[in-house]
Amino acid sequence: MLSSLWIVPALGGIVVCFLPRGLARVGAIAVALGELALTLVVAATFDAGQHGYQYAEQASWITQFNVSYHLGVDGLSVWLLVLNALIGTVAVLATPAVWPRAAAFLGLMLLMEAGMAGVFLSVDLLLFYVFWEAMLIPAYFLLWLWGEGDRPSYAALKFVLFTLVGSLLMLVGVIGEYVFSSAHSFDLPALAAQPPSPQIQFGLFFLFAAAFAVKIPVWPFHSWLPDAYMSAPTPFLLLLAGVMGKTGAYGMLRVLLPLNPHPVNWWDWNWVLPVLAVIGIAWGALLALAQRDMKALVAYSSISHMGFIVLGIFALNAQGQEGAVVQMLNHGIIVPALFLIVAWIYARTGSRDRGVLTGLAPAMPVLAGLFLVVTMAALGLPGLNSFVGEFMTLLGAWQLSPGLAVAGCTGLILAPIYMLRLFQGAMYTEVAGGSDHPPEAVVRKDLARREVALLAPLVALMFVLGLYPYLVVHLMPALGAGMQVLRW
């Protein structure tokens, strides 16, 4: 059952690559929908009361090193899988009908989705790493060959090299776990049961942390993100921003903390990641304030929001970590929606400049309405989803250190400023005098029905998760079997 969750998009992706242009789109949509249906079946039949991995599949793989092909889902991964499949479907559907080399593009998108599904499914450390690295290959090609802007090849290479420094250090960590844990295995539960000595854990902790921090990204490892997001084509950007960043946070909860529950050194390391997270929250928000380009604004706001996730994880208590998981889903829903809206505005007006776009709402009421909901969700309005996650992570952080929680609130204060300014400016400010873009040159067409249908599930989920977060949180008792929560 679980194998099909990555094999379907992987094989489907390879097949789609070789289909003729017209058929490729249909094929890709069919594969993405099939994947979504499969994950929904898994999520629907998931037993909330049961701890540990469900639907587990295990087969020996490289016996000499005790590597096994071990898949499983638990409360941590099940909704992330759904998110992956959902955003994957939206991304495939959002690919315009006229698209250069569409077959290869859609095929690589599906391969990327397969890689991320594999990351969320793996219960074996080496298998996890294989998927983790393998998803970089389609990501590189998607970013480079279909990238926008002046130099997509630069952005793609920067992205790969940044990620790779972290990943390869993690490879040392992966092997280190095998060598130094008395389990002599790559199986995650076995490794978690027999962690290495605290001093060695300390070294391994930072090897893993580096990889995940680059992927999320945590300040100061974020410099690949603006380049990559700016040059990513919109459909790929949905996957990149919506799901791939989450694999890093997921890795922290799945691998980093359970495998190294008690790293010790002569200096107190516990403050490192929460402080970096808080700096990231403020830094991202401040840079978002300064952006004129709407895409860049959303990209920087993404750094800020990911900071909350890291802060929640390294609050090292149940509230913070549950909040982090909720926030992973929230962010995974909101950011794709924002990028979609930005792309649609750009397609209609030919501009993403916040200073140029004004008064679009009267011509595009539906877009304005949906944009409003997404904006409110992004800035954390109670009743919409982001509020729940941010509140829980800050609650967790408060227990760790009130100062950190207060500092983290800067993100909450700045978010309304940049988000509302963005929304208000583009949608409602009247055109005052001569603008750079004479209104008649602008195609002021409201959202097509197809586009509304694309955004509708995301907006619906913002309400569902905002009003009924229990849907996600009630699975959390099964969160990370064997995770040992530390106190500062």
Binding site: I62, L126, S153, V160, L161, L168, L169, L171, I175
Partner: protein, 500 residues
């Protein structure tokens, strides 16, 4: 049998047959070599090339079959008074060299035709080099080691200068001859000193006589140092790598491809046999030297590869870097370390030879299309070659699920578990650098088609394309199925652990 007193010769026919079957793969290739030489003289000029190619392939496939058969059935042991051995280690390498040989003959057969060169001599030289390599891997004595080393080197000197009309090829041959001669002299001097220190040239006897308290013996140490330098030349490990890029660039492309994988494997077989097995007890003495060369190779190879404009030279420097990675496994030693080295060498064949085979399809009568620009738009001109070139580059860069990734995992696992963590971290960081130049190839392969017609027209000839396909399939499939190859490697490593 009538025997003179004192001279104890009890060499029965049964013994002769048993000895001969121990070196069965070597015999098969040698016979093919001799037949090929004769056939080359008898046939009319036009038919020589294809006939010799067929004979070479037949001999190599036979060798492959014999080696596989003996390996599967677990035959093996020493022969000719322990001067050679047909153990699993030797069989592993015989398998490896026969595979490379088949690939090389196919690629060079079509290459020489396009470049307008004579065909048959190149195949004969390739066979001779393979006989040398196989003897090297099967060596039970330092004498056999040197014999194999010279046989393979001399054959390759000639091969490098095979393109007589091209100055670069001549330069390559001369450079290789001089530097290779130096290296051989170093090795021979080292062997002489080790013989002086131990009183034997048989490696298994050296393994028992050299005990860990002999670490202070100056004769032995000097011998180890000289031999180590010579070996480092042969595997093109820094700082003894200077010849590699020039020789690789000048030599005809299939020869470069052959050298890049086969010579490296042969030299590592020699290092494993002599150092890990023969001199295993004084490991700490030579490990310092090797650790330094490994670190230097990784840094120099990866940094120098960045600035190259020729793919041949880039792959030469990348080969230096890979020698550095492989040395981690040599340093780790033990069953896991040796098996990781064997695994990596086999995997490296498919990714590196495959990459060269792709480049070889760009060759015309005018020259080799080995500049990055010559690859422009390859992915659109011929998607199969483009995709597989990407696979080779990603595998060399160590991306899963290709074989290169698993090779690195096994090497690094052996390295970390024996305490060479600093070297592994260095390997990891330098391999990030390597991604830059491997991706540069991808950049050209998938860049838009150039407006001007390509300098070298793409000739998707059947032979090289088949080689590319086969190596590509192996480079991918040996990743997920790495357990099987690793098991063969572990079996191959077993004979080296008897001495300890």
């Amino acid at each position: 049998m009538i025997l003179t007193a004192g001279l104890q010769i009890s060499y029965s026919a049964a013994q002769a047959w048993s000895d001969l079957s121990q070196i069965g793969p070597i015999v098969a290739v040698t016979v093919a070599l001799l037949v090929a030489v004769v056939v080359d003289l008898l046939l009319p000029r036009a038919q020589r090339g294809p006939a010799v190619a067929m004979i070479s392939i037949a001999g190599l496939v036979l060798a492959l079959g014999i080696a596989a058969y003996r390996l599967v059935n677990g035959y093996g042991g020493s022969a000719y008074f322990r001067f050679v051995s047909g153990d699993a280690f030797a069989l592993f390498f015989e398998l490896l060299f026969a595979t490379i040989g088949v690939l090389a003959v196919i690629v060079s057969s079509s290459y020489v035709r396009r470049r307008g060169l004579d065909e048959s001599e190149l195949h004969v030289l390739t066979l001779a080099a393979i006989v040398g390599m196989m003897s090297l891997a099967a060596a039970g004595s330092l004498v056999t080691v040197f014999l194999g080393l010279e046989l393979l080197s001399i054959a390759l000197y000639v091969s490098c200068g095979y393109n007589r009309k091209e100055q670069a090829s001549q330069e390559s041959a001369a450079k290789y001859l001089i530097i290779g001669g130096f290296a051989s002299a170093f090795v021979l001097y080292g062997m002489a000193l080790i013989y002086g220190a131990t009183g034997t040239t048989v490696i298994s006897d050296i393994a028992t006589r050299v005990t860990s308290d002999m670490g202070g013996n100056p004769l032995l140490l000097l011998g180890v140092l000289l031999m180590g330098v010579g070996f480092a030349f042969k595997v093109s490990a820094a700082p003894f790598h200077m010849w590699t890029p020039d020789v690789y660039q000048g030599a005809p492309l299939p020869v470069t491809a052959f050298m890049s994988v086969a010579t490296k494997a042969a030299a590592f077989a020699m290092i494993l046999r002599v150092f890990n097995y023969g001199l295993g007890h004084i490991g700490p003495e030579w490990q310092v030297l090797l650790a330094f060369t490994a670190a230097a190779s990784m840094v120099v190879g990866n940094l120098m590869a960045i600035v190259q404009s020729s793919i041949k030279r880039m792959l030469a420097y990348s080969g230096v870097a890979h020698a550095g990675y492989i040395l981690v496994g040599v340093l780790a030693g033990g069953r896991a370390g040796v098996a990781a080295v064997l695994f990596y060498l086999f995997g490296y064949v498919f990714m590196n030879f495959g990459a060269f085979a792709v480049v070889s399809t760009l060759s015309t009568a005018d020259g080799d299309g080995d500049q990055y620009e010559d690859l422009n738009g390859l992915g659109y001109r011929n998607p199969t070659l483009g995709v597989l070139m990407s696979v080779f580059m990603l595998s060399l860069a160590g991306f899963p699920p290709m074989v290169g990734f698993f090779g690195k995992v096994f090497l690094f696992a052996a390295g970390i578990s024996t305490g060479w963590t600093w070297l592994v971290v260095l390997a990891v960081l330098t391999s990030v650098v390597s991604v830059y130049y491997y991706f540069r190839v991808l950049f050209h392969v998938w860049s838009p088609l150039p407006e001007a017609p390509a300098r070298y027209a793409l000739r998707p000839v059947r032979g090289p394309v088949t080689v590319v396909l086969v190596t590509g399939i192996f480079a991918i499939a040996l990743g997920p199925l790495s357990g099987y190859l690793l098991q063969v490697g572990l079996n191959g490593a077993a004979p080296l652990l008897g001495g300890r």
